[in-house]
């Protein structure tokens, strides 16, 4: 019993010094359980391989250069799509946030098109652009656009009117008010929009790669499924999950928190 307590104490001290450990350790028993279930062949090996096989496949795919290539393709598309989505979405969000008339006219349109969803556009996009990069980029831009616009608009509206007035009475022109007051004030919400947008965005990417597929992690998984190779499907899922987990928890969420807390603003 004391051994257990000692181990517990060690764990507590370690995680206090290196909080990242707390995010990693819980996965150890899961992986162990996975290995055990796979070994016990509760499900046929072909349907439920163990972690070792997945790891071996990982090494082999990296060695062959396939995984890094696909990963690069996926990430590049996501980055380009997201950048375009934000470049379009933030100005649109500012417009909708500041101008009541624009909001009345555009809000229902935005909500409706968001409701259609990115994936429902694939069939018509395939007709227009075929199985191409344009199709995939469009889907990602579409997906990222709406959370960014809606959250930006929300953030813009939450900037207190007094800050607008203070800036104007200090000599700022309308344009400068947007740059110096509205955008910084809306930044926490913009970050939330980016985070949500990316969350939907990578899912849209995977779906597009599955359906349109020429390369990318989604394609890897679907191709493996066609070949009946579960190992690579699992590998793809784990890579995706890890990637997004890392980006979201250790890059996006802290930025969102930092911008909100640093300035004493309340994040959505």
């Amino acid at each position: 019993m004391t051994l257990l307590l000692k181990a517990w104490g060690l764990y507590a001290r370690l995680t206090a010094r290196y909080p990242a450990i707390r995010s990693i350790v819980p996965f150890i028993p899961v992986v162990a359980l996975w290995a055990a279930v796979a070994e016990a062949e509760v499900f046929p090996r072909a349907f439920f391989p163990g972690p070792l096989e997945v790891a071996r496949s990982f090494v082999s795919l990296v060695y062959k250069g396939i995984l890094p290539d696909y990963l690069e393709d996926s990430l590049l598309r996501l980055a380009v799509g997201t950048a375009a989505g934000m470049a379009l979405g933030i100005p649109l969000g500012v417009l909708v946030g500041l101008n009541a008339r624009a909001r009345a006219m555009l809000w229902p349109v935005l909500l409706f098109f968001q409701a259609i969803g990115d994936i429902a556009w694939l069939p018509i996009l395939l007709i227009w652009f075929g199985f191409s990069l344009t199709t995939m980029t469009f889907v990602i831009v579409y997906t990222v656009l709406f959370p960014v616009v809606l959250n930006t608009a929300l953030g813009v509206r939450r900037v207190p009117v007094e800050l607008h007035r203070a800036a104007r009475s200090l000599g700022a022109s309308h344009a400068r008010v947007v740059w110096e007051v509205v955008l910084p004030g809306a930044l926490p919400n913009i970050m939330t929009g980016l985070r949500n947008g990316l969350g939907y965005g990578w899912r849209a990417l995977i779906a597009a790669e599955i359906i349109v597929g020429t390369s990318g992690i989604g394609f890897l998984m679907f191709d493996a499924r066609r070949a009946g190779s579960v190992v690579e499907i699992l590998l793809g899922m784990i890579v995706l999950g890890l990637l997004w987990y890392i980006v979201d928890s250790w890059v996006l969420a802290p930025i969102e928190r930092a911008t909100g807390q640093r300035w004493g603003l309340v994040t959505q």
């Binding site: 819980p26 229902p108 349109v109 994936i119 694939l122 599955i210 998984m221 499924r225």
Partner: protein
């Protein structure tokens, strides 16, 4: 001074919502006719309406919508029934919840579309695989959010309830569930969002009935009017789900209790 709500607020709200969409409709018709757009590229309003009417008449629309909604309903119901009690159980102990949070966060982050390939492998094509994807999306997200919600209920609150004589069932229904409800509702909204997307995507590749399938099939025959009609149906369905199900749920729970929790 109490603000009086004008008597026509509800229909007025609906009208202000629909008006820009009607303008869009007119714009659509104007552009397609004005530029003489090839119907194989983009259909005009009339052909879409006609296509829609046809699918309604021959019953195919009902079949597809029924299949899609049926899968969503089953998958969601199953997921919620399992994930909420599980989330509550996990959230009770700070040690357990702290340990499990990264795990469930990982899985909720992966939830939905990424499972399509493996779902079709495990369950074959059709109802099973698609419902699994939906179940998966809702399950992990709701479990994660429930866990967070219960874990964030201040311990003194639970102690107070216990010292006032609350037993297990009372504690659950009067303290834990209400306390975690804002998070649960947020989880349902997010999970359903992922599930809906996963549904459409999965139906495009893994079945022969459903809205996604209807769209994908139409593509093969360049029947853009069916595609556009299908897209509109999907949009309307989601708006209905959002306005009639999710928004009232959020209003009844989050706003009523004046709490805003974030996962």
């Amino acid at each position: 001074m109490l603000a009086a709500r004008p008597r026509f607020s509800r229909p007025l709200a609906a009208a202000t919502f629909l008006a820009p969409l009607l303008v869009l409709l007119l714009l659509w018709e104007g552009l397609v006719r004005g530029f003489g757009v090839d119907p194989r590229v983009f259909p005009n309003v009339e052909s879409v309406a006609r296509a829609g009417f046809d699918t309604l008449q021959d019953g195919s629309l009902l079949r597809h919508v029924g299949a899609s909604l049926g899968r969503v309903a089953v998958g969601t119901a199953l997921a919620i029934v399992i994930s909420i009690p599980l989330g509550v159980a996990m959230g009770l102990s700070p040690v357990v919840s702290g340990f499990l949070t990264p795990l469930f966060r990982f899985f909720s982050v992966l939830a939905g579309i990424a499972w399509i390939p493996i779902a079709t492998l495990w369950f074959g094509y059709g109802f099973g695989a698609i419902t699994f994807v939906i179940f998966n999306a809702v399950f992990f997200v709701v479990a994660y959010n429930t866990l967070l919600g219960v874990a964030s209920i201040p311990l003194p609150l639970r102690h107070a309830a216990a010292s006032l004589g609350a037993g297990g069932w009372t504690m659950l229904t009067q303290v834990l569930l209400p306390g975690a409800l804002p998070n649960i509702v947020t989880g349902v909204r997010t999970g359903l969002g992922f599930a809906w997307r996963g549904l459409i995507a999965a139906e495009m590749i893994a079945t022969n009935v459903g809205l996604g399938y209807m769209l994908f099939l139409a593509r093969d025959f360049y029947r853009t009017e069916v595609i556009v009609f299908g897209m509109i149906v999907i949009g309307i369905l989601w708006l209905l789900i959002d306005r009639l199900l999710l928004a009232p749920l959020e209003r009844a729970t989050i706003e009523r209790w004046g709490m805003v929790h974030r996962a």
